[in-house]
């Protein structure tokens, strides 16, 4: 990976002094993940370019020798074949910070005038991994006084149908102090990248505050920068599901999309710390809140004392029900083991008082298998779950939930596909989540619910959730199944 910085009309020797790197020498600096080389491809009195070239050792990176080796990703194929040797990522930022430490600090004892001077600079970073595309690079660098030329790199010129890659060929020109220019790169290169090569730690906030001193607090995209800098893609964790994804040549994050509580919490805390002085954003009630409230209202109205949340995810519903002592027994099940860990963490299961704790249970299960542990509840909830089940498997879900578990009441919510046209950001024909196997119109949902209810001895009522649009209906739709007389249910299961 490469970065060059060129200045016109400044004597090469001046830049050399400022950077503490002699223009006629090639210097190399050992880094944990490789070697950083600094040299000057041109150095005249009219024009001077300094280059920082990082040679990453991919094998060493994997073998965990360097600081760059992530701790718990040892078995991900992405560790072995990745863009780190080429792209200007956080590794380049780290090298920059070390190699030009005094320059970034704005010190030059030999020539104290140099750091304070504005320089005409042009910077070239040929492969910047850029989440959000070229616009993101413009959005982040332009407010700092740079002219930004960010050109997307095609994914593969021989396969033009594949379009652009997430890399941009980035050229910055501007008149700035060198220390500022370097600190911009130090902060913003990892910000643009989606992946940091090292784990987010508690000292990250401090680093950000130090490096952004003097310019970050006034940056219009300040919050975005903070969040992105501190966030880390959830590390291709070595979960079992991730491994199965790799075995079958799929990206782990596509299959294992459960949130990583630990990471989110770290980012949350770090961001909160950084932006603690900011006023609260104006809150609009999100759809998820509407949905949760609607489900809770149904459960309250049903008089249920025991509730099983099928597909409880991070435990939002369980958390909402915990506050109401009318719900004596709460079981959250999910097919994702990781989601359950997140739920346990979110619900603070380990520190809840005994009286609260004994009301809650979390366990792994699957809606397409029968499970005696989810049977016998007053109420069951399938909140935004069915659309994650392949249509041919829905009958198994019906049989295991309505047939075998047979709750007194079942509340089901699912997106209303008709409403999707109201979402400006959604392309026509797409769905709200990459894992949705279908999204139903109101009529689709009604037909399914009625058939399932009839088959298993339930009556069903359909209700809107969220603001109802006169034309396309509500964003979310809800069905409430209520069991008929018990004999008829048993007949269905036992008439053979």
């Amino acid at each position: 990976m490469l970065l060059t910085m060129t200045t016109d009309a400044q004597a090469a020797s001046d830049l050399g002094y400022l950077l503490h790197k002699h223009p006629d020498r090639v210097q190399s600096f050992e880094q944990s993940f490789g070697v950083a080389h600094v040299f000057y491809p041109e150095a005249t009195d009219e024009r001077c370019t300094v280059a920082l070239l990082l040679e990453v050792d991919p094998v060493a990176l994997v073998r965990g020798r360097g600081r760059g080796a992530p701790k718990d990703v040892a078995f991900s194929l992405a560790q072995y074949v990745n863009d780190r040797p080429y792209a200007a990522s956080s590794m380049l930022a780290v090298a920059l910070g070390k190699v030009f430490r005094t320059a970034i600090a704005g010190r030059c004892d030999a020539r104290p005038d140099l750091p304070t001077r504005d320089w005409d600079l042009s910077i070239h970073v040929p492969a910047v991994p850029c989440r959000g595309g070229a616009e993101a690079a413009v959005r982040l660098f332009e407010p700092l006084g740079w002219d930004v030329d960010a050109r997307p790199v095609p994914l593969d010129p021989e396969l033009p149908a594949w379009g652009e890659s997430r890399y941009v060929d980035l050229r910055l020109t501007g008149t700035l102090r060198v220390a500022d220019a370097l600190s911009h790169l130090y902060v913003l290169l990892p910000t643009l990248d989606a992946t940091k090569h090292y784990w987010v730690g508690s000292d990250e906030v401090e680093k950000l505050v130090r490096a952004g001193a003097g310019w970050l607090s006034a940056h219009p995209a300040r919050d975005e920068i903070a969040r992105r800098y501190l966030a880390n893609q959830h590390g291709l964790a070595a979960s079992a599901v991730a491994r199965l994804a790799e075995v079958d040549d799929a990206r782990p994050e596509l299959l294992d999309d459960a949130p990583d509580a630990e990471l989110e919490d770290v980012v949350e805390e770090a961001s909160a710390e950084f932006t603690s002085h900011l006023p609260e954003a104006v809150n609009t009630v999100p759809l998820a809140r509407h949905r949760l409230d609607a489900v809770v209202a149904q459960l309250r109205a049903s008089g249920a004392r025991s509730v099983v949340d099928l597909g409880c995810g991070e435990g939002a519903l369980i958390s909402a029900l915990l506050g109401d002592p009318a719900f004596e027994r709460l079981l959250g099940v999910d097919v994702s083991h990781r989601a359950l860990s997140t739920a346990a963490r979110r619900l603070h299961l380990d520190t809840l008082p005994d009286r609260q704790r004994e009301r809650i249970e979390l366990t792994q299960s699957s809606v397409t298998y029968t499970d005696a542990r989810v049977a016998g509840f007053d109420a069951a909830v399938l909140m935004e779950v069915i659309e994650h089940v392949d249509p041919p498997r829905l009958q198994a879900l019906e049989r295991s939930i309505l047939g075998a578990a047979a709750p007194g009441v079942l509340v089901v919510t699912t997106p209303n596909a008709e409403h999707n046209v109201r979402y400006a950001s959604m392309a026509a024909g797409t769905m709200r989540h990459h894992d949705h196997r279908f999204e139903w119109t109101r009529e689709d949902f009604r037909a399914w619910a009625q058939t399932a209810a009839d088959r298993h001895g339930y009556a069903v009522e359909l209700l809107p959730v969220g603001t109802e649009d006169p034309e396309v209906g509500p964003p979310t739709q809800m069905a409430v199944f209520r069991r008929d007389a018990p004999a008829a249910v048993a007949l269905d299961g036992g008439a053979r």
């Binding site: 080429y86 594949w162 890659s165 079958d248 040549d249 799929a250 097919v335």
Partner: protein, 864 residues
């Protein structure tokens, strides 16, 4: 000598005062672990065998251990005074909870003897009045023991009788494990004597008639025996006639029988007890009125003497009128008998006033086949290795028998509707028995499996590789993938195993070379191997049914689906319509090649084919990965390296010493270009089936069985025939070379072939034992070893892996775990096929398939 009969599985409760010699008695008659002593349990929980404070805790422990032993089907003896009724009651309850018979053995020893014995024991200081009180309690208990629930009570009076006693363990009446058949198991008859005669004759029995022409016995020339599942009587035209025949057969040793609920009720009616005379009992009683008093007495005795369920053939067959769940096999209790007679009822009644029955068979997970009747069904159907043989003969259906162990169903139709059913009896439309009565039997495995079939630590017994353990944490990840991404489990009868690469080449510019694969097989004693071209695609398992009827009948799938094409983790490659298109291609080729007739069962065309294939291009499945991972790396390299080179060249032109760095950068650039070429070979556009290629290379199984013992040339010949017959241009052939491992020239030729394949960027080859499934000195031999090409490995080990310094470091890779995993997964896959082909229940197949997926979650270097 007094012989004390004790059921072989029972809870033996010793009753006697302190010092009556219970422990001595127990030690003499029972094995070391069979006796649980309350004193010992006191010691366990308090360090003091005599501590009275520890009594409650000690009995907790005792009950817990006794419960575990009874669960395991082990006779258990309780050595405690048990002179108080409350103490005995808790033990009777314990026995009942585990459905074993409680037995009381009372040691009634003179008080003086006990006192003397207690005095002589240094560790025990028991006041005389305590012994006296215990003895009073004992005397008061004696008469009521039977009433308390003890099925057997032995009272031994005095030391002499105690010393002379001998315990004799008797098998349970249900235990006929020594009887291995063969049997013809006959469903509910309900007085349909004529149909029974016809059925017995069709089964090959010769009827014996009395002077009045009434059948009184039937004998099979091959010594087969009939086994009646009960409900011989009621509703039908001649219950006495049926009884006469069946009783005769049983008496002559030509038949066995279990009682039905109708026999149970008949006995009570004959005893003059108040029963509701309905459901056809009125008919039987009227018919019996015409019989002699003597016959009625015989009937009563016969019906009353029947054992509610029988366990036969080493435990492989269980017969009970209404079926029996596994926990009740060879157990004895009121609820076992009730289950056997009436089934698993809820106590509720349905809209017709009939009892609501729970579908116990759907939850049945036992290894024994369970045959039963009781609930009329139109067609006999296998559900989890159980079958109901009541096909409603008396309602105008059929009288049905199942030949055991052959599993052939034989039926005769009812001569007429003898009795109008309360609930409409569904007719078996279109299900006509063939002339010899044989019938195609349906399967109706529940389409929903239970989580307990897969979750938790499991041990899967495989026929080829012993026990394979699935760790709990592995099942956890597999459950998510199975639930969210896999095809319907009824389609998922196989998952392919992972494959190990060959040992690492010791030197040179390659990481993998065929020599190491050959050497590995030589070491296993394999003489001949086949080298198969490794296609540049994805492993695909193709299950194709001959038609939609087979898909519905054998797999229980809805209309419109005739098979499945899935990946190595069970995910579908395509949506429904495109899958069917591809299945049509395979089906048409199989028909044109005449394959169905070649590989069917018993001369019939095959119902379905299960093919191991490679599907190309890889981008069909992995385009997302190719774009996000491989192409992205290429893009970054393409963008970064040329400016880096230019910058270094400029520096070099200035005379700076960057020569080596420039060389390395140029080399990286070349490697990155080669990397792009490597992944691009796996990408081409497809539209529908246009551009899709499918290379079958092994016929895993058909309904005739699995084919792992056919050699690979046979499999490849099948594949070639399919490719030749294919008119769609989708099917493609697999290149192969046979190598004789003892012949250097032959091996060299195979190496040359591999060089040729991989020089063009090919993925390499898979080396397999020519004979296919092979056992070597150390057990099962790896079914395949992959030898991957130098360029292909760039996308596995990274663009720069070929740099000598990198190669040297990469050579130290550990294959042991991968190899072990490959063998275990291979065994599980074959096990799944074996179970499926043997018509085992779905959960048994799923258990093995799920195991493969679970093992795949084990962390192993993904580059191997």
């Amino acid at each position: 000598m007094t012989t004390l009969p004790v059921p072989a599985l029972s809870l033996v409760v010793l009753v006697g005062v302190s010092g009556s010699g219970k422990s001595t008695f127990a030690a003499r008659h029972f094995d070391r672990f069979e006796t649980l002593s309350s004193d010992f349990c006191r010691g366990l929980v308090s360090n003091d065998e005599n501590s009275q404070e520890a009594t409650a805790a000690a009995f907790d422990v005792l009950h817990h251990i006794a419960g575990k032993r009874l669960d395991a089907g082990l006779l258990t003896v309780v050595d405690a005074t048990n002179v108080q009724q409350a103490a005995r009651k808790s033990l009777v309850d314990l026995a009942r909870a585990h459905d074993v018979l409680p037995v009381a053995v009372v040691l009634d020893v003179p008080e003086q003897v006990c006192l003397e014995r207690n005095t002589s024991r240094a560790d025990r200081d028991l006041p005389a009045h305590v012994v006296r009180r215990q003895r009073d309690q004992l005397r008061r208990s004696l008469r009521g023991l039977k009433r308390e629930g003890f099925r057997t009570v032995h009272v031994l009076g005095g030391t002499e009788e105690i010393d002379a006693a001998v315990i004799e363990r008797q098998p349970l009446r249900s235990d006929r494990r020594d009887d291995h058949g063969p049997f013809d198991v006959v469903g509910d008859i309900h007085g349909c004597r004529s149909e029974l005669e016809t059925l017995l004759e069709r089964l090959g029995y010769v009827l014996v008639r009395d002077g009045e022409g009434r059948p009184v016995d039937a004998e099979h020339p091959d010594g087969r025996r009939a086994l009646f599942v009960g409900d011989l009587v009621d509703r039908g035209p001649d219950s006495p006639g049926v009884l006469r025949l069946v009783m005769g057969m049983v008496a002559a040793g030509h038949a066995l029988a279990v009682p039905g609920n109708h026999e149970n009720k008949l006995v009570r009616a004959l005893d003059g007890r108040a029963v509701q005379v309905s459901h056809g009992l009125e008919t039987t009683l009227a018919q019996l009125d015409a019989e002699t008093e003597e016959f009625r007495a015989e009937v009563r005795e016969f019906c009353d003497g029947l054992v509610a369920h029988l366990v036969l053939d080493g435990g492989a067959l269980v017969v009970a009128h209404a079926g029996l769940k596994e926990a009740f096999h060879n157990r004895a209790s009121g609820r076992v008998r009730s289950f056997a007679l009436y089934g698993d009822t809820t106590g509720e009644t349905d809209e017709f006033g009939l009892p609501v029955r729970l579908p116990w068979a759907e939850d049945y997970r036992g290894r024994a086949m369970v045959l039963y009747g009781h609930t009329p069904t139109p067609v006999p159907t296998w559900v989890n290795n159980t079958m109901c043989l009541d096909t409603g003969c008396v309602f105008g259906g059929h009288l049905t028998a199942l030949r055991y162990p052959e599993k052939d169903v034989v039926q005769v139709p009812a001569e007429r509707v003898w009795y109008e059913p309360t609930r409409p009896f569904p007719s078996a439309s279109g299900q006509d028995a063939t002339s010899d009565g044989a019938l195609e039997v349906a399967r109706r495995d529940p389409d929903v499996l239970d989580v307990t079939d897969v979750l938790g630590k499991r041990v899967v017994e495989t026929s080829r590789h012993g026990r394979v353990t699935i760790a709990e944490e592995n099942a956890v990840g597999a459950l998510e993938v199975m639930s969210r991404f896999a095809v319907d489990p009824r389609w998922l009868v196989y998952l392919p195993p992972t494959m190990s690469p060959c040992a690492t080449a010791p030197d040179g510019d390659l990481l993998e070379h065929p020599d190491q694969a050959f050497e590995a097989y030589r070491a296993e004693g394999v003489d001949q191997v086949v080298c198969e071209e490794k296609h540049m695609g994805s492993r695909a398992v193709v299950l194709v049914c001959r038609d939609a009827e087979v898909a519905a009948a054998r797999f229980g799938m809805p209309a419109g689906t005739t098979g499945v094409v899935h990946t190595r983790t069970g995910r579908p490659f395509f949506d429904g319509p495109r899958t069917e298109q591809l299945l049509d291609v395979v089906r048409a080729a199989a028909s044109a090649a005449g394959l169905w007739d070649q590989v069917g069962r018993d001369g019939n065309p095959a119902d379905w084919l299960l093919l191991d294939c490679e599907l190309m291009p890889w981008s069909v499945k992995a385009e997302d990965l190719l774009r996000h991972q491989y192409a992205a790396v290429g893009a970054a390299a393409r963008s970064a390296l040329p400016p880096a080179e230019a910058t270094l060249e400029a520096a070099a032109a200035r005379g700076l010493p960057v020569g080596e760095l420039l060389d390395r950068t140029r080399s990286r650039h070349a490697n990155a270009r080669a990397f792009g070429d490597a992944y691009r070979r796996y990408v081409w556009a497809t539209d529908g089936l246009d551009g899709v290629r499918l290379a079958p290379f092994q016929l895993l199984a058909t309904d005739a069985g699995s084919f792992e013992t056919r050699d690979h040339l046979w499999h490849l010949a099948v594949a070639d025939a399919l490719v030749r017959a294919d008119e769609s241009d989708v099917l493609t052939t697999t290149g192969r070379v046979v190598a004789d491992l003892d012949d250097a020239a032959s091996c060299a030729a195979a190496v040359g072939w591999w060089n040729q394949l991989t020089a063009g960027g090919g993925e390499g080859m898979v080396v397999k034992p020519l004979a296919n499934y092979t056992r070597g000195p150390r057990g099962v031999v790896q079914p395949g070893i992959k030898v991957r090409g130098r360029e292909y490995l760039r996308i596995i080990y990274g663009p720069d892996y070929t740099e000598p310094a990198n190669l040297a470091r990469l050579r130290s890779r550990n294959l042991g775990r991968k190899r072990s995993l490959a063998l275990r997964e291979y065994a599980l896959g074959l096990e799944a096929l074996t179970r499926f082909c043997a018509d085992e229940p779905l959960w048994r197949v799923h258990e093995a398939v799920f195991g493969v997926l679970a093992l795949e979650t084990e962390p192993v270097d993904p580059r191997l």
